[in-house]
Point group: C2
Chain length 403, copies 2
Amino acid sequence: VGTELTEGRIQDAHLRFFGQELTRLGLTVTRCAHLPDDRALFRAEVDRSVAEAEVLIVTGGLGPTSDDLTREVVAEAAGVGLHYHPEVWSALEARFAGRRLAEANRRQCYAPEGFVLMANPHGTAPGFRGRIGGVHVYALPGPPRELGPMFRDEVEPCLRREISLSPVEETRGSAFHVGESNLEDALARCSRPGVAWGTRIADDRIVFHLRGGTARDREAVLTDTQALVGATHIRRGDRGAAELLFDALVEARARLIVAESCTGGLLSTWLTDIPGSSRVFDGGVVAYSNELKQAILGVPGTMLLTHGAVSKEAVLEMCRGALRLGDADYAVAISGVAGPDGGTEDKPVGTVWIAVAARTSEPTAECFLFRGSREAVRRRSASAACILAECLVTGKGWKPYVA
Amino acid sequence: VGTELTEGRIQDAHLRFFGQELTRLGLTVTRCAHLPDDRALFRAEVDRSVAEAEVLIVTGGLGPTSDDLTREVVAEAAGVGLHYHPEVWSALEARFAGRRLAEANRRQCYAPEGFVLMANPHGTAPGFRGRIGGVHVYALPGPPRELGPMFRDEVEPCLRREISLSPVEETRGSAFHVGESNLEDALARCSRPGVAWGTRIADDRIVFHLRGGTARDREAVLTDTQALVGATHIRRGDRGAAELLFDALVEARARLIVAESCTGGLLSTWLTDIPGSSRVFDGGVVAYSNELKQAILGVPGTMLLTHGAVSKEAVLEMCRGALRLGDADYAVAISGVAGPDGGTEDKPVGTVWIAVAARTSEPTAECFLFRGSREAVRRRSASAACILAECLVTGKGWKPYVA
């Protein structure tokens, strides 16, 4: 509930959260309605939900302003009045320690009669739970960092206690550098009776889950899909490309340095997004201009003139140059045409060279042709660089996937 | 419509898109319902919407599989059959040029009788539009890159033609490094009768709009808010921090180099997200380890020992070192404690030093204390670096905001 949602001023994140959590618990979400702060529309939705579902979760509308209607609307729908909870006011006073507490906050001390308060350690608005007819009704505050803990600590235990649930068991996997239709095709060919799958597209991969059947069936589907598509491309679990590389470096107690051109720092950003990445990641060079490729990485100017910056020769030199800058054990270098301009007949937009090297061996390079927008080409390049480097660090070896 | 939404496998982006677009056109969104691929639930929602609203937009469910129910459900609700459109098949054959076209795609050639097809230049599924009773019904494909253009090219012109709309006029602004409650307070103090405002939080700023009143009133609110908070922090329009810096560099025909520590490449990533950034951005160094700060940027090891990597001295040296690497006109350097670990009493998590320099002058540095998660600290650091550098390039000078 909130006009900020229906006018598109903020991004909803609750549907995704509840969709995942409730599905995991074995519940089916039959409708998620987003409504403006309008009493009549809100009341109609509560009445309809109570007539159709077993569980109703309301989020938002618990704040101190006159736009916050959840307390009143749920009480009306339940045919009860509002009850004042003085302990909420005391808790607010303690929380505001010394600062002036607005009288508007008084509204937050009310809940429908017969409903039980749910504590909110991360904000001012408590939630509440109770029943309308036989339907379980939960009201939670809107901010995700308040709602998440309240769901985990109050709503989930209550649902498990009061409703007969069959939690869904699932096996998760990730597909790297495999198109959605090819993955669908592979999963269909490898599936077992009773095993269903679903996919979702993440920044750098497709995450899939297998549900139904026995754990052994799901395991067989995953193993067969790996055998069909390749173990480089199909991974158990839902770690991202940068996380897989991070894990491999930690395991090998090794350090990495990078040289990025077309990705412009994206690979470094992904790696440093991981807390603790400084243990394995030295940093590197964003050699976006040819001047920096020469000045910092020592790529010869004549080579850039002869072969171009997007070439096997240049990316191998970038990789060697990165290793010379410090004492990292591994290096990776990326140079490509991210678009939308800069493509030629020989090197169309999406052409990307990636080189990887260990200090103890000569670098090797692979050429990719990625489709999609500038942003997609950059993401796919960074993802491929992570997987190539991870394969080198773990000694697995990398093989291209051919559908 | 889609079980991938109600099970939380993908993030919905349509509510936000339609919320903004329809509000702009002067329409009120009274409900946005997300439904699983379930014929009965879908049909009930269409019937209810047609009874309550003037316009119904359905997205998703136009693909080639048996889960794709929109054609059938809308035809049933309208009480009509399905009509085969052979021109859709021809267009699909042309699109697939040579490749095998699955018979399943035949489903995409049908639309409810009496409905008009809407072309989809970005995908295989056409949309359709028509009426149920007096209600305008539009069915659009789910993928955002197909839906967006179809809304702009087909739905919006049709709505403008067939419904009496009062489009909302608005003035947009962005607030950098100002908290949400401080911005609210400032807008409230500067507002004029009839002018309402709304805010939404973006990666690197708060975007706000002013609606209602005359253009002159809204202009006065924006100008007064700038005067109150500071012209560095309140900007006209909705350009992001990296875009403002890019614009300033283009205008000055100048080039930039960067040295990043705690942001780990995020500033470079933002700049290179902008097509054409190679005109003004040379790249730089992700000096995540102290070794690279010394080896590439020439920060003396004794200085790092004495003052630490997160210090005014170190960040000034990083900035000088970046300028020495090439012939860029400007440099910016960032060093801080992004967390979650690494904070001390003197330098808690969120402490960030940022230096900016022109080739023709000595660098200057500012210290910030950002609150929030590792990710938030990194985003705020990159954003502040862009604004500091932009103020230097444009000669505006930077002043901290004090609430």
